[in-house]
């Protein structure tokens, strides 16, 4: 009984969307440094979106406002050094809040990497994702405390270290065994 009800519901399209549709980082040369999609986009739509947006955003001068209308959504971007941080939000969302989310993210990155630069994000792309995941979930800001995020990330890092040690010792064993 329960399941039949569910199946009926399945046919209805639901539109609970998240506040943030996607986050992307684009370098000044138009290279993509990070993309995270909270709403559903096919791979084609993704690359098209990024291409279009980088065209629009990179061509904007420095003293203009940080908001761009894009396909019924708003893209809020901010440039830090050579990187553009972009967040796509809905029409009704607060642009200034999105700017603060960006700034928040940058500060956390800064704290983690110690004055972050583009290279840090290039070579630690997975870490940037984990940090972003601590900041946002399902397109919503989940943690506004920088210190908490720092703590959570370092807990993860510790776990990774431990796992690595284990792995290396294991591979040692295997290596010896195969000799």
């Amino acid at each position: 009984m329960h399941y039949t009800v569910c199946k009926e519901l399945n046919s209805v399209i639901l539109s609970v969307s998240s506040q943030i549709n996607f986050v992307c980082l684009i370098s000044r040369q138009g290279k993509v440094r990070l993309t995270k999609w909270y709403s559903t986009y096919s791979q084609k739509e993704r690359s098209k979106a990024i291409r279009e947006l980088s065209g629009v955003i990179l061509s904007r001068g420095p003293k203009l406002c940080n908001f761009v209308d894009w396909k019924g959504h708003k893209v809020v971007y901010k440039r830090y050094a050579s990187l553009y941080f972009c967040i796509c939000i809905d029409e009704e969302d607060n642009e200034l809040e999105a700017l603060e989310v960006i700034h928040h993210f940058v500060e956390i990155l800064d704290r983690y990497f110690g004055s972050v630069c583009e290279l840090d994000l290039i070579f630690n792309f997975h870490k940037a994702y984990y940090i972003l995941d601590e900041l946002l979930i399902a397109g919503e800001l989940q943690e506004s405390s920088k210190r908490t995020i720092a703590k959570l990330i370092s807990a993860q890092d510790n776990l990774v270290e431990v796992a690595k040690e284990e792995a290396s010792s294991l591979s040692n064993i295997i290596a010896q065994a195969t000799k």
């Binding site: 009984m1 329960h2 009800v5 569910c6 519901l9 399945n10 209805v12 639901l14 539109s15 609970v16 969307s17 998240s18 290279k31 993509v32 993309t35 995270k36 909270y38 559903t40 096919s42 791979q43 990024i50 001068g61 203009l64 406002c65 940080n66 908001f67 761009v68 209308d69 009704e92 607060n94 642009e95 200034l96 809040e97 700017l99 603060e100 792309f125 997975h126 994702y129 995941d133 601590e134 979930i137 399902a138 919503e140 800001l141 989940q142 943690e143 506004s144 405390s145 908490t148 959570l152 807990a155 993860q156 776990l159 990774v160 431990v162 796992a163 690595k164 284990e166 792995a167 591979s171």
Partner: protein, 891 residues
Amino acid sequence: MDSLFQRSLDDIIKGLRHQQAGESAFVSKVLEEVRREIKSTDSHTKSTALQKLTYLHSICFVDMSWAAFHAIECISYPNFTHKKVGYLAISQSFQESTPVILLISNQLRKDLKSNVEVEVSLALECLSRIGNLDLCRDLTPEVFTLMASSRIPVRKKAIGVVLRLFGKYPDAVRVCFKRLVESLESSDSPPIVSAVIGVFCELASKDPKAYLPLAPEFYKILVDSRNNWVLIKVLKIFTKLAPLEPRLAKKIVEPICELMSKTGAKSLMFECIRTILTSLAEHESAVKLAAGRINELLIDEDPNLRYLGLHALAIVAPKHIWAVLENKEFVIKSLSDPDPNIKLESLRLVMEMVSESNVVEICRVLVNYATKSEPEFCNVILGSILSTCSNNVYEIIVDFDWYVSLLGEMSRIQHCQKGEEIENQLIDIGMRVQDVRPELVRVGRDLLMDPALLGNPFLHRILSAAAWLCGEYVEFIRNPVELMESLLQPRTSLLPPSVRAVYLESAFKALVFCLHSYLKSATSSDHSALGLSDPGVSKENHITPDSVLHLLNLIDMAVGPLSGSYDVEIQERARNILGFTELIKPVLSDSLHPQDERHKQQVEASKMVRLLHDTFSDELGPVSMSAQGRVPVPDGLVLHENLADLEAVCGSSLPASSATISFEGSHNVEGATSIFISDQKEESEPSSESTSLLAEHRKRHGLYYLPSEKNTEHHEANNDYPPANELKSELAEQSFLPKRKSKQVKARPVVVKLDEGDVLPISSKIPQAKDDSLSEAVRDVLLGNEADADTLTQKAAADSVIRKKGKEKLNAKEQEDDLDHMDSQSGTVQNPVKERSKRSSRKQNADEGDHGGDKGKQKRRHRHGKHRTREGVQNPPANVISQTPVPDLLL
């Protein structure tokens, strides 16, 4: 051993950075490696390969759907590093349609139950990204458990995931909603409140009504919270709720105003402004305060704030236009802001300010800006002028002479690309507004005279309209000879054939007009002694025999070559004109050189000319777009699906006639009609009937003609309106009569509206059903069933509390009854019957903590994990408690 030779992610990144040109070759080489490595049984090799692939996927948008199964393998590894890589790959690349997605279900459940906090977090994050109906359904119990986790980060993430659960699997509402509401009150841990509010903010934006009962909780947060993130979300929720409940609006307006004036955070302040403007616009004083804050934003250095200030003005404009007018100068100044976004926003505002009284002034300013702007923005400005002014059949235009000359001026702006729109409006006005025709013709003539304009392809459409107008209303032309010259000037060869055909047709009309007035003046000069002179002719008396000769020569020269044109339209029209001149020349040449027989010849000539002149001067009325549909099919007429039979009937005669008709393709209907009629005349012997036929037709089918301008001058002519218009006339008159009295003809707008009116109701139905299942679920949980909700609002609060109390009590018993009425709605209906017996005994406790009861139930829910979903359905009515407090706490 593989791993020894495997390239690490760093190698790939470095390699990619050193590639200048052959990036794609490099990528495909790496992909090849990855495909090989990922099949390895060694977990390290596999996860490294997966990590590289994920990198390429998110940076170079490489397809990785083929690796879905490998990603699932990775998350099942015990080693945290590998698991992490697997989760990243999955949340980056999985779509709902990924075939293997269900294989992940068990692993997710395992990780959600893990003791390692970080693993739980990974699983939650993954679920929030990729959860589909099946995953959400399967994992709802685990998420529900985690929502009460003692570990704050986990709890907060679980709450975040709830949004996905609700979206994909609305039944999850019955399970999790209560705990979600309870989390609202966990004021001890701000991150939780922040997460919950985020969820409610999204939920309420879709279906605000269902969350009205929670208003007291939100209000408490609004007043107590110091966290700007949370406050912004709460404001967003109230933006949605306030319009639904006026008492709520009254309650929140004060704290919001206070927040707005106290806060230092611009984002929060802006959210306050937006809330007031969108949802509390009736509160005059609050709007005034907000307007004050907007003024601060407008003068700020930061372009972001200026933009948002304008944006806020745009929100307030429909209800409080004074707020925009106060800042009129700033708005207009922003039209020249370096930022295109600000320019667009201010243009939108300027258009909001336009009214009957200032339209002239504003358009003047805008056209000035348009001439100075770069092409793109220039056309945006022109487009919005055109659409605003023509809105609702030129509602705001009083002085049409001015508007028409503005159209002419706009055509001459260097970057103007609005040819089509201007063309349509020129002709539309020409037909709708009789009094403006002299001015229209003057503007048209000026455009036609300027040989430079012919070189600009964007203007060809406008020139086509100008030519048509000058031909159709040639009687207003001061100097028809000059007009003929410009219509036939050599540079017209630059025009596309369709426009050139219009030029020729207009030249034809002008020629007939010239000859007509010449002959008329010639006869009248004969009779002038008798005092019969026609007053209308006197002003055209500059048409001398010489100028007629000149015209005929001109036609020979300019039109002659066109009779061999490759374009059928041009060729046909050219031949028509030449044929006519051939016909008229012999008779006319006599009259030009006075002889004895002059009089007789002249009569013959003027007969022919008058015939054509009459044809052309018959007034063309616009036809409603739906006119054809209103023609009833006569009895006995069988309408065939296609016209295949027609060929058999008409045989070879068809092609010729179709050529005449098809001309219309790119042009307005009226032009077509006139040309068609004239052509008929030309080909078939001059039978003076055609005008009378037209009149006859009009008399019989007057219903399907729109009233011509002549009629509409007299108001009683309204009878001629098609019946469908009358249906609409009530509405239409409301909007038209009071404003437009003097010159403008108010006729067809009704028809246009009618056509739209038919469509509207259909489209407005569509958006409704969208969120049904989710909002239904929420409503069920929050309000019990619909009947409950209704009665509750009417009854006193205490009453409902009692009822709930009763049910609470019953729940213990219901464990056994569960199976009986569980899945059916009737379960909830039955309860009250049982409650009633308990009601009296519980009455004294009515005012006591309802939460106590709730919590009790909460604990029970824990214990009977298996019954959770079922209980969920029954529990909901308990929440009705929270509906009643709206009046209690707030008012």
